[in-house]
Amino acid sequence: MSMTAIVRTDDSKPLLGFWIYIMTDCVLFASLFATYAVLYQNTNGGPDGYQLFNLKSVLAETLVLLTSSFTCGLAMLAAHRGDRRQTILWFVITFLLGVTFLTLEATEFRHFVQMGDSWRRSGFLSAFFTLVGTHGLHITVGLSWMLIMLFEVIHKGLGRITIRRLTMLSMFWHFLDIIWIFIFTIVYLRGAIAP
């Protein structure tokens, strides 16, 4: 989707506006990544990433989220075809995958807290919980939005405005996927390397 194409269509303004919004969200995450990079060694005598992270469950989270991006893409293809049933089906699958991701993440968080390694423990853990948690919060927002859009598709079908909203939702969802890849690499993979 090139810029010129967007500007010419009737939906140019909202879509451009949403792109700019996503850019601001990128800056937001960039700030959190920078914070994490500054603090990840400040373990304050507590555990570091190497001791803490369980790569297996993180890998599962990653696969679930990547798959959900794929199914979200399928849903959008169906929406552009005007196939309401397929659209709903793929969005439901995307939604369930999103919920699975969130559950896995919540389990991980709860495990850490139960071991006494909460966000209060050290600068490193504060940064970790905030960065990953902010992504999780975005996923929660995305899921709520998806739920609303599912109702809209069911009740109103696939009109121009609905398609536009779905397009924004899918942009948001793919964006979160990209952010997760950064989190996976910078937080988890790097953390898994022995210090």
Binding site: Q41, N42, T43, N44, G45, D48, S122, G123, P195
Partner: protein
Amino acid sequence: MSKNKKIKSGVIVACIIIFVSVAVWYLIHTNIPVLEPKGTIGLKERNLLLFALALSAVVVIPVFFMLFSFVWRYRESKPKGKYSPEFDHSRPIEALWWLIPSILIAILSVVTWNSSHTLDPYQPIASKTPQMTIQVVAMDWKWLFIYPKQQIASVNYVFMPINTPVDFEITSDSVMNSFWIPQLGGQIYAMPGMFSQLHLMATSQGNFSGSSANISGRGFAGMTFVAHAASEQSFLNWVKNVVKTPDHLTLSAYARLNRPSENNPVAYYSKPANNLFVGIISRYMSLNSTASGNNSHSYNSAPTTEMMQ
């Protein structure tokens, strides 16, 4: 009408002249520490300031001249010059004012880069006299000075022999403060868990006031101290006196001192507890001991091993 106007402008001009002369008279008779430094670093910083000011004048004077002459010449009520409403660009003229400021800034940049290095506060001052170390702790709301070699300490008063480079090693046992003795030279932040350094050297005798330049809470305004500079001999005499002080700066005495207090009077201690300064820093240290921090000489670095002894 015009006579009235003349009287009016005459009165205004007279008022301005009187005001300015009073101001000038006052300023001449007042001590302006930053412009009248009594230390080597302060002197160099002052000269740098004056140099940059002079260089800026190269741009400022033409700007003022152009502003006032254009406004006067082309005012609509009594225009003098030509009117060219379409004259809206000129490559050579515009190139000129991209170029001239760039050249000035280039000159200043070289000066900035060099002076940042020569006047780096972490840089020891070259001198025949060996340098002396004074450890400084910003507290709520007072300054503690520890003389590790002399085994004494003082509050809100620091004595330094003249023409001896002093290495101030600075930290905070509270919030962020800034250690500043304007007449001797620039300031540096005092931060908990960190160690910063400031090298100063007094070149003449006197009492110089120092303060915290960064807000630190309720008693901030009272965080002033006196930096006294005098001869080596009188410094040694002073040390001899303070050493006799019965108040030892033990850990418990330090804990008492560390309670928040405002406008703290000057106080003296002898025999500061071993490694007191390093201990204060390490209370806030947060790096994992196994993790490798970046140990540049700059902020965030742990105290050097030399200090640990």
